[in-house]
Symmetry: C2
Subunit: 185 residues, 2 copies
């Protein structure tokens, strides 16, 4: 950030009065530009025991597999965001069910929130941000080619809960994965 989005003045990094962290502050109008983590909402969508997966067509991690998930928008709820992302990436209309996982990723300035979802009919397609979309038997999940550690976490917790006949909520923190070498978000 170099300029104030309110007045166009230049910003500098400084600790505002009463604060303990450096913020971008406008040297002209004094507005403080806070920067906060973003939320990603997604779902493990199940159709008759098979799980909906998408191969990503965009960076980061183009060519790797994910559950439908993406940045939450203003003026929607978390379940709405998860269902919208499933429609955008997999052209699939799902019913969002229970909360599955809440994953903090401090290095990425993100929190990923994943739900269980029900796909009533095997109707789906390849959204603009996907290269392929399919329903996968749990034994055929491409574990070595998953896009993000939060996706692996959500899928593993989902399957473990299913095997145990429970539906728990799982919360964890995940450190920077090896492929994420840059400190730039």
């Amino acid at each position: 950030m170099k300029y104030c989005n309110q007045c166009g003045g230049t910003v500098e990094l400084r600790i505002p009065a009463g604060d303990s962290r450096e913020r971008f502050v406008c040297v002209t109008c004094e507005v403080i530009h806070y920067q906060n983590p973003k939320m990603v909402a997604g779902c493990v969508a199940n159709y008759q025991g098979k799980i909906l997966l998408c191969k990503r067509a965009i960076e980061p991690r183009s060519g790797y597999w994910t559950i439908p998930a993406g940045f939450m928008e203003n003026e929607e709820s978390l379940p709405q965001a998860a269902a919208r992302e499933c429609m955008e990436e997999a052209l699939a209309s799902v019913e969002i069910q229970s909360l599955l996982a809440v994953v903090s990723l401090p290095y990425a300035h993100q929190v990923h929130i994943m739900f269980r979802a029900h796909l009533a009919e095997p109707i789906f397609g390849v959204g603009e941000e996907s290269l392929e979309v399919g329903l996968y038997d749990p034994d055929d999940i491409p574990w070595a080619d998953l896009a993000f550690p939060s996706v692996e976490y959500a899928l593993r917790q989902y399957l473990a809960d299913q095997a145990a006949g429970v539906q728990n909520v799982h919360i964890t923190d995940i450190d920077r994965p090896a492929w994420r070498k840059s400190t730039i978000i």
Copy 2:
């Protein structure tokens, strides 16, 4: 938002190619300025059956009561954010325990995530953003003077779970409260 924080050019609201929503886009450098919901992390902190509450010293809702809670910062996890806010607002060092509530507030462009927490000793104080801080018996919670609907939701779910001897995770959406007349976030 009037100016691009990257190049200082003016921004305009338009739907970028491949998108479906209006975004602030810089007319000079074409950078898209996405705006996403913010997360608030908080906790219901318990010391021998009493709950830590703070009377707010800042707007919005100055003079009303809340559990310790505030905006999550970059490079921290949700439990770290909840513990930090408890230290800042109530000068109390808590152990964050289980996830209690995940509340979407679409009107406010926020998601509030509340935890159960344990206060080992009755050591607390009045942080800079608080007017009063105290430990309250559940019968003495000032229900009519709570600052935010998510605070009431978290407290009611906490007490109901405690009465039932369970620790569930509660997820809900909350509409704009009556006192929030402005559409400005």
